[in-house]
Symmetry: C2
Subunit: 615 residues, 2 copies
Amino acid sequence: MQEELKVVFQRSGRSVFVLPGTALVEAAGRAGVILQMPCGGRGTCGKCRVRIVAGATGNDVARHAALPSDAFEQGWRLGCQVRVTTPLTVEVPPESTFEYQQRILVEDSGHGGVLDPGVAKCYVELEPPTQADSRSDLTRLCAALGGVTVAPELVAALPAFLREQDWRGTAVLADGCLIGLEPDDTTSVLYGVAFDIGTTTVVGTLFDLVAGESRAVASEMNGQVSQGDDVLARILRIREDASALLTLQTAILDTIRTIIRKLCAEADVASRNIYEVTAAGNSTMQQILAGYDPSALGEVPFVQVFDTAQTLPAARLGLPLADGATVYLFPQVGGFVGGDTVAGVLAARLDASDGPALLVDIGTNGEIVLAHDGKLEATSTAAGPAFEGARIVQGMRASPGAVEKVVLDDEVRLNVIGNARPAGLCGTGLIDAVAELLRAGIVDSTGRILPAEELPAGLPDTLRDRIAFDAEGRGRFILAVAAESATGEDLCLWQKDIRELQLACGAIRAGIAILLRRAGLQPGELGTVLLAGAFGNFIRRRNACRIGLLPAVPHEAIRYIGNAASLGAKLALLSAPVRRRADALRGRIQHVDLSLDPEFQLEFGMAMLFPEDAD
Amino acid sequence: MQEELKVVFQRSGRSVFVLPGTALVEAAGRAGVILQMPCGGRGTCGKCRVRIVAGATGNDVARHAALPSDAFEQGWRLGCQVRVTTPLTVEVPPESTFEYQQRILVEDSGHGGVLDPGVAKCYVELEPPTQADSRSDLTRLCAALGGVTVAPELVAALPAFLREQDWRGTAVLADGCLIGLEPDDTTSVLYGVAFDIGTTTVVGTLFDLVAGESRAVASEMNGQVSQGDDVLARILRIREDASALLTLQTAILDTIRTIIRKLCAEADVASRNIYEVTAAGNSTMQQILAGYDPSALGEVPFVQVFDTAQTLPAARLGLPLADGATVYLFPQVGGFVGGDTVAGVLAARLDASDGPALLVDIGTNGEIVLAHDGKLEATSTAAGPAFEGARIVQGMRASPGAVEKVVLDDEVRLNVIGNARPAGLCGTGLIDAVAELLRAGIVDSTGRILPAEELPAGLPDTLRDRIAFDAEGRGRFILAVAAESATGEDLCLWQKDIRELQLACGAIRAGIAILLRRAGLQPGELGTVLLAGAFGNFIRRRNACRIGLLPAVPHEAIRYIGNAASLGAKLALLSAPVRRRADALRGRIQHVDLSLDPEFQLEFGMAMLFPEDAD
């Protein structure tokens, strides 16, 4: 294996190991640091600037002309122009990140600043009643807070609270309602959690809503996975057995509780100081989380229970948060196009794009949104969990030991997460492996691993020796021999794995094709393809095009935007005005039901073929 | 005892026994039928017309000149001009009643008709989803209902409901919120209950909210009575022992449940078909009902927990009503001036009166409101439970066996409820007895029962013989001798009873005096005195003036308006717009705290003296 280089990103402290020659923006993406790059990586906009704290990046000043004068000398570089050739320590200023850019855009759009959460605290010191001013307790408090509504539970608590606390305290307000009363001044203690509820993986980010800063991130496998790999399997379970709804709801709530526990431990925050949760997920995930039966998504015409945003009391869900805390679920578009898509469009600001633009959110459920001519059209497609390493013979999640990059030259070069011995193949490794095998001519456009007699003449023996077939003639490609692997067995890409990838790519590619056809657009007319998903930013653009996952557009038109659904959930947590924009967006997004398209099966079949030569 | 005459009132079917010569309006009032009489009983407005179905009323056509032509011949009479001289059966058209008049006034005031309850039902038949119309269940329903909000519990229930009910059913709506879903078309089944929550007595009226008609009335002793006679005693209990709040809340809720059970049994209605409750009570009663600690009413400066109207989920109070049913509590003015006063002013339309007008609501807590110069000023005064027969040595509630009228000439003439042997003295009997003893010169203006040597020379021996004294010189007057009474003992008015009445009258009279003085008005300037309270319409106006309970105004200026708080609660149940008017009224009523008035003690002391001769 080629030696890997460690890149450390400052502020977050996260690090990755990458092969020499990897673009710094890519390395950053793998560390979860999404650099903004509106010019598509051409080095012209100067937005992705970072400072090299340790390590060398060469002296090609001309490549970094978009930097201010003197900046180069001070160690500043354009992330898109740097290739990693030595270990690096890189400082990433917040303003170079995509997240920051999105918040600024929100601020610019006249919503009055991004940090305007739906929950707020207000410390009040009331004048005690006198004979001249004997207003009721409730009126006295409301006069100090402005017009708020107060639920009977809190009215009941008010007299004792005010008198015991000497007419002082902190009011917790959400959406014009009083949700809590706390002794003393606790206005500096206000936390919230933004969740991305994936079919396979759930990610939560704890925010200090006073500072507007994240304090901890934690992820867990969705506890529902044992009840079915994908949303259809889970819907089927509920259709077969009504009690499964509660089982599945309990599973995701347990996952959420676990994440909250981890977040609170990491940031040393008490869960009772979490006052609000936002969550973005697909239709099935959001409905099960709310306890709403998703059965009607299991049959044509795929009907959702709700589409306007839902706000649920956290207590109703058994979440151990502050009294009166709520869980906000994103509005949904229709069918399988759910809250994660709305959150993603919100975060990507796809509605504000110039010219035709595509958002592809890759997960177990793939969501695709096309913006063109002021319209937004969205569809959902069942990619299956292959991209997350599931249903792959030797697959695994993107965790230490997972092969996440494959390069073939005369040798097989692997990049393993955690710089460990390879234990399995994760989604990006799978894509890389297949793309490289296509380039090498070992796999043909139908996805077949070719027998020895059909292999290209010039294929080096070092690669040729790694191809094997079983008794039924099904091929495999040995990525790492037993002596090199963590398991003591050969680590292989199996013929079956390629079929899984073809299904996953085909579903997404067919969805893209149908949206483009409906809009009368050719792939080349897309000015921007935004690649999203917890896993999207690890995909190498060139390889995604090679296997046909993304349409044939110039690579620089493809931009990683990280986990857009998660970012949308964060923005909604940080800003009530943005949340209101989500509701407006929902009404603008038209749902395209692929199952209604007469050509879907044909498109799907065609999309399962790999492009002849897409490089 | 003089023979009594039975008067039956048609439609309600209620009957009373009265002494010959009793005014028909008074007999009606005692039967709970409050005739409207804006002219004050002068026979000029013609509003109180009734039809004599059986019995004789004389042929004095001139007295009934305000009737339309031919009406007299058809048996129509003005209620205010008829005196009962034979047993009567009387038909009372709804439009002659005070309740009806108030509803018409509401209708006239541009609120779009009185019958517009806060809760409504809507039967919907939805189009099932198709591929062309796959809107979410929630959006599909909301589109049919108009903009409504739906709580998570009902969203969760929606998918199964719509599919099991074949996309048809009845939505129950309250205040823009969906509160229930019912199979089939149940729009004809919609009930509500209006409560008057008195310190001593609780009255509930069951209404069919579709027809806008009452179906049953039931009353019960307030279950809190065992915890203290008046509001101060109950507040004190809670101040001494915090757990008493729950005890007292449970007591009133038990009373309410008992009344609901009786109402449902009488009208053959299921309690789950009761969708809304309105309740009017004084500050203490409303707060305890809601579970809000009234302790701050127990010390200067007498602070209420709330003053804007409260809407509580019935389920929170453990009331067995429809899912999602609510309990509306009236807005409150301040201190002890609570929701019953707002409800009473609403019902009496005191805010619309021409010229200075006084509303006196007599109960354990007396409320007094003065309207003058476009202003409304209200005060509350602790009359104690004497008017309801409590704290009277041989007192009892106005139930069968209670002496409710006393006339002295040479004999003692008693009117006993239910035409039974006398068992005790109720509030009106107490007032009558004292007024008659004052007239006879047996009691002097200080309230003392005079010893033999101080009695007027002309007093008949038949009365003189009924006066007795104990060893300490405390007098009593024998109303019925042992042989005539139900108990086998003498039924007496005791010196102590007169003192209780003096306290009760003094409190109310002092309140009236202070409001008049603040407004710079003399009693004679009052054009109208509205006498309200469950018990108010049983009081004989002349006797109320004789004992100084009411100021010296012409008797015809005094009008019974029945239980105004109860009527206000009914109007609020029948009409959401009226309910909103209650909130506006609250802001217009100024609270006068008698305890702050430097002359209250002086006024109170003076008001405890009976007028020298008020007849």
